[in-house]
Amino acid sequence: MQDSNSRPMRFLLIEDDDDHAFLVNSALEENHVVNHVDRVADGAEAIEYLFERVKTGRQPCPDVILLDLKLPKVDGHEILRQLKEDAVLKTIPVVVLTTSDAEADRLRAYRSYANSYLSKPLDFDKFHQMILALNLYWAAWNRPSGELSAKRPSSST
């Protein structure tokens, strides 16, 4: 099950709740896959973070985006819409990770081309398992698009 990527996976966690961010982070750290996690706390900041990277190209784009829907200033749906309209950013897998289990939210997220939709469970163990599996799937098994691979400092097969 060892991933062939030799460099750490870059996660972008867009989450306004510090506690939730802590929980997600700690779960990601427990995985055997080496990760790099950036966290932004509101929607406007997230947009700035992503588009700045695309524009300047100085810093690498994240490999996976974990997106909460309920955010200050710009909400998750709007971020998703803007991401998926951008030629480069739309290739980054977006996993919606939110407390909302409302059908309207799920539908809207998938219509905006979200790659996955996960509802934060109240049961911590489940939550933990979910993050572990998420990490495993996106960071170890899933093969990212070539476009972003090209921008990586190093890659091997």
Partner: protein
């Protein structure tokens, strides 16, 4: 009628009588002429004899001969006779009357004075005239007479008949006719009456029934001619429209009470009346607006049908009933329905928000509790305190959320009677209440003196001001010299209160968002995202508005506007209004000077 008949009959009889008189006259004139000729001939023969024999009295002989000739002649009529006479000085001497010679041997005759009133025809003849006359005869009777002198002799001849005899049959038959008329006509009249009376009675009853139906119908009924002009309107129609009959009759119905008076004319093709006038078919229209004389409007269901007689269109009959009450009720129902829809939508939004935001602290609590459990299992204690603090914070946030939600729901639900509220006083109290907080952040609070007071639910208004003050303290105190100023200006018909800070300000795209439930601009844990939603709700139920004006970096100004005079409209968020005292009382705002 009898009189007319009698007059007509009398006229007819008189005409016949005149005709008869004319015939008699012609006959008499003819006869007297012939007789004069014969007498002349006989006298001429006698004169010849007397010429040879002087003793021969030719006059006597002539008279005798004429008398003899007349012996077998029955004459004419009962009173008709031929009279022969001559003039002797001032006397008229008759020699022959009624076919019989008058007098004895020496010319038996009767005598009447010449120039007297009697024997008018004979006097005329003896003057040498011929002709006819209706006059007096020698006996003093009214007669029709023809007269002619007998040439070559001293005599004149008159044929006459009594007027009475001529009239008698006419009088007789005329009288009989009149009597017959007097009997037959009343009898005929009675018979006619007897036959027609039931028909007339049933017609009258039918007409009365129709009229009473028209007059007592609860529906408005109008009869209109081919041009759509009113010919008749029943009392119900008049009562509904507020016109009286004289005013309405002859007027164009569509123009008078159907056409829109406000903006545009009611399009004629949609008018059932015009439609029926043009195509002759019945039309009906629901919820039409008719205008009353006083300018008021009523909603009617209206039906029009073509009025025909023997296949010819004579106009239109329009019936309508006032459905204003129904329409008002329907409108109200629709309004309530829409209100309910809106509420439902709000409710869905609300529940969605609540479920999301209330679940969030639970995830936190569960997560950290599990972490603590794991740490204890491996005897790790360095993080426990931090984790417990996080759990505690989450619980407090949850409590704050629940309190905020309860506050918000109360804003729409519980409405205290509106009272005059001294805003200046309220603000002083708030300043006192949060003095410690203000001092700890070194915030200067300026409250404009002489703040106008308002009328409203005191607790809610106070809550709105408090939320704005707390908001300003929390987010507007980033400046070196934080200042919060509160004041009021009057714009048009509104009192606009403001709470201004000199903090960071808010970017324009978030000006609306900050008032929405659970919407925050920062990720901090203290804010619940309920406070400004409550402010807006409080303003809405007072008929006012809440908004923010801000230029980023220059602070923010939150505005509350209240109408100077308005209806206190209770608009509940998610709850049915309780009791009946929450709507309909006046919200009056008046300036009161306060220190």
């Amino acid at each position: 009628m009898i009189l007319t008949s009698v007059v007509l009959m009398a006229s007819a009889v008189y005409l016949f009588y005149r005709l008869s008189v004319q015939q008699w006259r012609n006959w008499l004139v003819d006869a007297v002429h012939k007789e004069a000729c014969i007498i002349q001939a006989v006298a001429a023969q006698g004169q010849v004899v007397a010429h040879h024999d002087p003793s021969y009295d030719w006059k006597l002989a002539t008279v005798a001969q004429i008398a003899h000739a007349q012996e077998h002649f029955k004459g004419f009529g009962r009173t008709g006779e031929m009279v022969l006479a001559w003039r002797d000085g001032n006397e008229v001497r008759f020699v022959l009357r009624r076919q019989i010679p008058t007098g004895s041997d020496d010319y038996p005759f009767n005598v009447v004075p010449f120039g007297g009133p009697l024997a008018q025809p004979m006097q005329l003849a003896l003057q040498g005239k011929a002709g006819w006359i209706e006059g007096i005869d020698y006996q003093g009777h009214d007669v029709l007479a023809a007269y002619e002198p007998v040439p070559e002799t001293p005599w004149a001849v008159v044929d006459k008949i009594d007027a009475a005899e001529m009239r008698a049959p006419f009088l007789k038959y005329g009288g009989m006719c009149i009597i017959a008329a007097c009997i037959v006509l009343p009898a005929g009249f009675l018979t006619f009456r007897r036959i027609t009376a039931p028909i007339v009675k049933s017609l009258e009853e039918s007409a009365m029934r129709m009229e009473s139906i028209l007059l007592s119908a609860a529906e408005g009924i109008c009869e209109l001619d081919n041009q759509g002009r009113v010919l008749f309107a029943n009392p119900a129609a008049l009562a509904m429209l507020g016109w009286n009959s004289e005013e309405l009759i002859g007027k164009d119905a569509h123009a008078v009470f159907h056409e829109h008076r406000d903006d545009s004319a009611h399009p004629a093709p949609q008018c059932p009346l015009k439609a029926t006038l043009s195509d002759g078919q019945p039309h009906r229209a629901s919820d039409e607006t008719f205008y009353r004389k006083d300018g008021g409007r009523i909603h009617v269901d209206c039906m029009t049908a073509c009025k025909r007689s023997r296949g010819k269109a004579l106009g239109v009959v329009m019936t309508f009933s006032d459905v204003t009450a129904r329409v008002v009720a329907e409108n109200k129902l629709q309004e309530t329905y829409e209100d309910l829809q809106e509420k439902n939508h709000e409710m869905e939004q609300f529940i969605y928000m609540v479920s999301h935001d209330l679940k969030s602290p639970l995830v936190t609590v569960q997560g950290f509790a599990s972490h603590i459990k794991k740490d204890i299992a491996v005897q790790r204690t360095d993080r426990v305190e931090d984790f417990l603090a996080r759990i505690q914070n989450a619980m407090e946030r949850m409590k704050a959320l629940i309190d905020g939600l309860l506050d918000l729901s109360r804003v729409g639900r519980v409405v205290a009677p509106a009272v005059g509220l001294d805003v200046g006083g309220v603000l002083q109290q708030l300043a006192e209440r949060h003095r410690v907080l203000l001092e700890s952040k070194h915030i200067e609070l300026e409250i404009q003196p002489d703040m106008p007071s308002v009328c409203g639910d005191p607790l809610r208004i106070e809550q709105a001001f408090e939320n704005l003050l707390l908001n300003a303290i929390k987010y507007g105190s980033s400046a070196d010299q934080p200042v919060i100023s509160i004041g009021c200006v009057q714009r048009d018909k509104e009192l606009c209160y403001f709470v201004r800070d000199n903090g960071e300000g808010i970017e324009p795209q978030y000006h609306e968002r900050v008032f929405q439930l659970f919407q925050k601009l920062t990720a901090d844990k203290e804010s619940t995202g309920v406070g400004l939603a409550i402010v807006r709700r409080v303003m809405e139920i007072h008929g006012g508005r809440a908004w923010v004006e801000s230029i980023p970096g220059q602070g923010a100004t939150f505005w509350l506007s209240l109408p100077l005079k308005s209806q206190f409209k209770a608009k509940s968020l998610a709850a049915v209004p309780q009791g009946g005292n929450n709507a309909g009382f006046q919200l009056e705002t008046h300036a009161v000077s306060v220190d």
